[in-house]
Symmetry: none
Subunit: 222 residues, 4 copies
DNA sequence: AATGAATGAGCCTTCATTCAT
DNA sequence: GATGAATGAAGGCTCATTCAT
């Protein structure tokens, strides 16, 4: 018992374990309740730390949130990179599937750091002051990448068509987060295991590939 | 009976002005900040009423919110019914366009009761206790209607394909609310006037009609 | 239906029925919750009147309370006068029994205007600004009367002995109000029907008659 | 174990000063105004603490009240135990006097923690949710003890006679709290110093001993 | 004689933050 | 490196009272 205590103390001192536990607990709570509705006391309790720990380690609630968000997207991009399973000579179709699949995996992930995609989903729907950073570092590159894939798929497409198609594709994916309550209601049998997510990715990819082909550029318009 | 109605109507107009102003102010604030972050004092100030007015007219903040939500969807559905511009002999394609167009109009409406679509968008992404009611009265019927249109468009489709396609279509539309921050960032030139919204509806409809045709039913799968 | 309405309206106008109903409802609520914790809205609702009715008929809550208290003691003294059942040639013992019996009846009365004794009990334990009046008009005369009876029963008693005996007797009776919660707890079988109350009066009278005889005046002490 | 206790004790003295001051201020205010009418801001001000201190140390007003009540009866029972001045071979008469004397001392104590008896008096006359606890821990044992003494004094008495006599004795004592306003009015010369209280205890004891002897058991009745 | 609408003061509670150790 | 104690600002709600009719 004495040893345990000492060991614990050492770890705390050596590795800043409290800081880590704080980040993890905060991720969970922020993902579940959002920035404003998350209560620092809850986070600290869940992390087994004192109320003052947040201010000690991160300055304030806002900076803790930013740290969580940053860690979140790094982890998620490492776990589910948008190039998931691709080789250098993959076709644009395969690239689109990989992109969609990775996005859905990030958003629907039920694994341990399950909150990564949810935090970003929240930021999109209700941006905080941290939005600028997350957008610059994560969202802009992702959209650029998607735009690149689409440009290869529909060579002569207008800017508008590409942009709207980006929105259509990302919108389909994100709806599994933003519309989860409705989907659960009208489509309760939908599962979210790996196979289910892959099937959803298949659907979105096939649906979108067909949609992309129908360019709504001015000169094609009736 | 007629007298009673008249009396009530008169009262609403004569004395219930505060009530009306409260509903309007609350709609605006709730749409902007969400239920929890909206401050009753702000709402009352904006409505030119006393804090106690909310308690007097609605009981409490929660019930005011429910009233706003109900008024909101009634107004929006009256202004932009999902059958907008349809005749009895409209084709399913036209019906789909009307559905999508009306949904986008509700979501993107910048007119006077501009908050209608936003409140529903919020409820979807972060349901409050009022969600059950709004879902029962508004969302369920809408999804059923969309399902009916899709069933006519893809006669032999599986349940899964129909459900996922519903999600794909609604997801594309709602993303113009839930993803507004990102869209504004990566696609800043996108306008939201009547013509712009119609063009978006054209895009989503055409995109989806093509997507629908590629049924991912088991027997067609690879 | 039309007639009923008209009739009702006429009554209100002719007899000030609202005022009466207000007094009755207020008596009930004040007795149950006390002055501060009684809510004017509850009283008005119970009386079938508007919130403003109290201020219209009585000026404010305080004056309504005073009116209730005054009506209360008049009614109670008329229903249960301290001379209850006495003739001119009754013995002091009979007078004491009548006094005690009437006091218990007023305090424990479960009949229609059941709140008379309770209001006075409350005033004793937690006086409001109305105490002065109720004391002057009701309590002082009652104590004087009791003192007179005791003086006849213990001719040579000191002032102190008389005063303390008054307190002992009234205290025994009032405890059935002020101590009702404890009594109900440690003595749950105690009933409060007419026969029960008479038995209690018998007990208190006999108990006190014996107690009175043991004058604790200095010259008799040890 | 000793270390733990000491540490806790030290903390209480070092940091828990606010907590202590809060308890003391709350006792005073609750005794004076009752639970509902006591204002937390007043308590905190009187304790030199912030409004949030109550929430921090006790959770809410209700729990603060319970803590005060508990501390109150512990202190009072330690200061004036119902066995005050008794030896093992005391007679039942002496035990009754001790009981009455201690009860009056608790109720009339004007010393530092003067609010102890008053809080219990309030709870009896107008129970809050804390009544159950105070009754179980304090009132039930006291009544049992008194019953035991009376049983020795009147060996053949019926249950009813014992119960009613308990009520008569406690009622006489408590009236010096519940009836303080009237007593002060009709008997203004009554003092409340130690000697006065002892004299009152003498009176109540002698009065009751005589009363007890006149058992109103059925077979003796009429 | 009576009322529906509206008010303002006041209360309890929550919460992120800071202080002293 | 970390914490228990304490704070101040703010929020939702209640309630007696008043206003206009």
């Amino acid at each position: 018992m004495k040893d345990q205590e000492k060991h614990k103390g050492d770890q705390d001192k050596q590795h800043g374990l409290t800081r880590q536990r704080l980040l993890e607990a905060a991720g969970e709570v922020f993902a579940e309740r959002g920035f404003r509705d998350a209560v620092v006391r809850d986070i600290c309790e869940k992390a087994g730390a004192n109320v003052a720990a947040i201010n000690y380690h991160f300055g304030n609630k806002q900076r803790l949130y930013s740290a969580v968000l940053k860690l979140s997207y790094e982890t998620a991009m490492r776990k589910y990179p948008p190039t998931l399973g691709l080789t250098d000579d993959s076709t644009p179709q395969e690239q689109l599937f990989a992109f969609v699949h990775a996005l859905l995996l990030r958003v629907l992930d039920a694994g341990r750091p399950a909150w990564h995609g949810k935090l970003v989903g929240r930021e999109m729907a209700e941006p905080t002051v941290a939005f600028e950073e997350i957008a610059r570092d994560m969202l802009d590159p992702l959209f650029l990448r998607l735009r690149g894939i689409l440009a290869k798929l529909v060579p002569g497409a207008t800017e508008d068509h590409l942009n709207r198609s980006c929105a259509s594709i990302v919108g389909q994916c994100m709806f599994y987060y933003h519309g989860r309550a409705v989907i659960h209601r009208v489509y309760p049998s939908q599962g979210y295991g790996p196979a289910d997510i892959e099937a959803l990715a298949q659907h979105v990819t096939r649906f979108s590939l067909a949609g992309l082909a129908t360019a709504d550029n001015p000169h094609k318009k009736k």
